[in-house]
Symmetry: D2
Subunit: 328 residues, 4 copies
């Protein structure tokens, strides 16, 4: 039984707390959030206590922490948790600044605690099957990866201003997917970006539509296309092309119902957004973390994975500014 | 908060107990099973107590019962629960004998307790969408229903011997689907049946492969095809044809992954069997029962639904014997 | 080079004439039709001459005839062609009366000429693949066949009056598909029928919606569902279930385009009707006939096949009247 | 009736000659090819004569030419045909050198003859539907285009040596699709390329695997991925993302048959290569050309389209060399 303190009682925090309760081998002791109403509500629902950072990390019976607070607090909380000897489950990104990411990694390594970065898509049953089947040789050597990742709608500009930009906030998951499925680090990256959804996005210095290409040292290629708005819902698909064939993972739908009428044959739109699409992924992700910590097994997603995604985001931003391929 | 006693701690009982625990507005107080080991395990997992029928029904704080024991006990337990004034959630079928079904219904009506029969497929998100969209007029007036329902593999002969026959044991769900989607009672039924999977099935007086057609008073038509063995898994599909179009609900798969290689383009087989395919249906079904009882709303599946499915099963068996259409 | 006379210059005649022209090893010498305008137009298009029955059959250079005239003339024309020693390609049905079918078969056998009945669906690439793959053992022994066959819209009542009824006119193709894919003759048949599309159909003594079940001597089962109206086009699908798996052949669409928008994910309706859906089948069918005659190989569809479909249609009609399974 | 001379009697020439014969309003008078055996065979099949360039272009009854000879002869033949006042149907590319393309265009403009460049994919029913439906507003303003275009297998190295490189030989079609569907010229282009299929390709100075991104002046984005080898056949898919939704055009298959067995649910591979996949496109393309010339309507594909694709291919090659975005 792993005892947890959780930082953050918002939307994603609620998911982790629910999954923790269902995991069977974990318990939530503390909830910490500056929004004490949210903290209280979550704590009450799962029989936990509301407390502050010091108490949570000072309690020797707390084995692990979930960091699901705002992005700018991730690194400090992870460093504090590392110093307190807690196992760390940290939402992505570790930080928007590579410098602070590195400081965090240093603290974690020094403390020799396990730290997991929340790349939940690796635990999506379909994307996980891509990875497993590549490993099983179903398509031979991987040659090209194509990631389609499109959100249902533009977040508020107030969010975009503090998001770190589309690459760090949105593409970061796709960078992780590309790296993971290529089985090799990108050695070069190039990006185009535009504001096609809303010109107001340009005013806060961001893009809403991007296309990226990457190349590894051995010449493997990857493409990512992103948009902040897909009128039909959350478009999350991946293709992997190899020497012997191709694997695709498509969207998921609420039902399998198909209507044929005088107009067309029509089926459900994809599940609306990440909470619906990645519900299973969040559950499996947390269970995997708990099992790894309990059984002292290596974590399947590491701080280096978290760091590398930020490196790619920074390089993509540089390519966007310079019109050149950026070497990594 | 609805307090439950549950009869039956087997495979289906375990599902109901888990869904009860997750429902949020229900609690399991007692587990009753002749297999005390199973009862103990289930009770321990959900903080319930193992007890006997008398104690469970005698406890005035018990509001409702779940009957998930062997089929031959359903009617007696339901009658006892009705007399004790408990709301009843009963697995299908109420009984294999129409006479006992009627006795049970009489007891329930006399006691004025709500009784729900576990036609879980009505709560499958895809089949439920069929029903909802028919009601919304998506395909105009319903004309024909085609139900494909095929199990992954033959159960043991020992099970078949006490199952009441393929119509009562397996087709019963499909009878309910057909009635529900036709929106009208079948007025006639005809059936062919064979032993194509295993000749041993004939020796216990049963079939393993059947095709049924039904007709309502206004001429609407329905077809059901069943097999006890589908090599590729659990094949559960429904088509509804109407004046303005057609609705289909297809199978569900573990992932959306598709492999294209030198041989073919291949995708996942359907989910293996009812526990996987109808996991959501079982959850929604129980939550619906709890909500209906708590809020004193009518139950969406009634004892009359349970009775009518048995009536159709008996008529199908008669048609099979006589080679004639049986009027209902 | 096979020289043809063709009887009938209507819609289906035009298709056969065009396919003959494209076949490469056949030529159309004569067109015979009571509608001389239609005959003239078709003859001009393909460099043929308009003539009468006597001249066409009297010409020793005519090797073969295509009978694509109205149904009531098929048998007489086939008998005359047989006596003249011509190879015969005859549209289905041979005749609506089994007695006249038998007279025709007798004449053909006596003349020892090859006679082919136009069950074009056997040459549809998808349905042909079902048959070939059953033969290759892809699904083991066949157990159940489900034929869905629904027309886009009701023909004029004037047509229905002379059509011989839905079983002889429409289901006849599905009877042939079922027999062909079962690999065994149906030994029993049962049918329900209704007028759901238009009550006027009942006034001419016909049905517009039918469901049929059949059983072979070894217990294999088949189901056919028909409607004279599918709002979304021509619905032509077949499922074959076997001991090791299932083969499906689905509808065909004009394009592969899929639209995802705020409402749904929608694709093309099926090809509208038989001229579009079975264009390839008609082409391959005629080429197969020509090749078989030229190379003196056995015909893949025989007069016995034509007869047996009529036998099933008559038995279905009898079952509809009597409410009983009809033995064959 | 349009009278044609055709240059080139190879694989693609055979297709055009067959489509001409079936068009109904065109006739093939001459075939010219240095391979006189091939010329003879083709001419015989369609009742044409084998001749030389001078005779073909000197015949005043020849209205139009089809240029389907080797790429290096396209420009010279087009210039000669233009001077002789013939309408020109020219296979892509006009030439591998932009300078010679421009000389050809100048000659055509001077002669005021219509010249069509064989971008057959614009006539593929599915891709044509994308274009038509974008125009109809089905997805609002276009934002991103993703072109997947992968050949079944590597051509011989001898071919690659004279092909002009992957961009000019293979991607050229995809450049045309991207321009056509974006509805706006790319203003910038970036490309990565590798030899992943066969290292021998690098030795002849070419790539076999490329990924390209492009951006228009208003910020619309396009991606193309190419491989010279897709183990499962010819992978030709296009996605267009717009403000209101997404259109996809998928692969086409020989049949709609689907097998479900103990391993998987599997369907046909895509049609093998361009002759199969684009059979309808070739037919419609030529008919469109003939109709436009006969009725003096503007051609739907122009020499400027042919030129612009070469411009993009040259810019992609430059980007590949320099690692920079190339402005157009």
């Amino acid at each position: 039984m792993l005892t947890f303190a959780q930082f953050g009682a918002g939307r994603i925090g609620a998911i982790h707390a629910a999954n923790l309760a269902a995991a069977g081998n974990a318990t939530l002791r503390y909830v910490v959030d500056v929004n004490t109403t949210a903290a209280r509500a979550l704590a009450d629902q799962y029989g936990a206590r509301v407390t502050n950072l010091g108490t949570a990390l000072g309690d020797p019976e707390v084995d692990a922490v979930i960091i699901a607070s705002s992005t700018d607090t991730h690194a400090d909380l992870a460093i504090a948790a590392a110093r307190a000897g807690k196992a760390i489950f940290c939402e992505k990104p570790i930080d928007l600044s590579l410098k602070r990411v590195d400081a965090c990694i240093a603290a974690v390594k020094k403390a020799r605690v396990p730290m997991f970065v929340g790349f939940n898509r690796r635990f999506d049953p379909s994307f996980a099957a891509l990875h497993r089947r590549i490993g099983a040789g179903d398509i031979g050597a991987v040659e090209q990866v194509v990631v389609t990742s499109r959100d249902p709608g533009l977040p508020p500009l107030s969010y975009l201003k503090v998001s770190g930009g589309q690459f760090r906030d949105m593409t970061i998951h796709d960078f992780d997917m590309a790296r993971w499925l290529l089985g090799e680090e990108p050695a070069e990256i190039f990006a185009y970006g535009s504001c096609l959804v809303d010109p107001a996005v340009a005013k806060v210095g961001d893009t809403d539509s991007v296309m990226i290409v990457m190349k590894t040292a051995t010449g493997k290629l990857a493409h990512i296309n992103n948009s902040r708005r897909a009128a039909y819902g959350y478009d999350q698909r991946i293709e992997v092309h190899g020497a012997k064939g191709r694997l695709l993972a498509g969207n998921q739908t609420p039902t399998t119902v198909e209507l044929a009428d005088a107009n067309a044959v029509s089926a459900d739109k994809p599940l609306h957004f990440f909470l619906e699409r990645y519900a299973a992924a969040y559950r499996i992700e947390l269970a995997t973390f708990v099992d790894a910590v309990v059984n002292q097994r290596p974590l399947p997603v590491t701080v280096e994975d978290g760091r590398q995604a930020i490196v790619l985001a920074e390089a993509a931003a540089k390519s966007l500014r310079t019109g050149r391929s950026v070497k990594l």
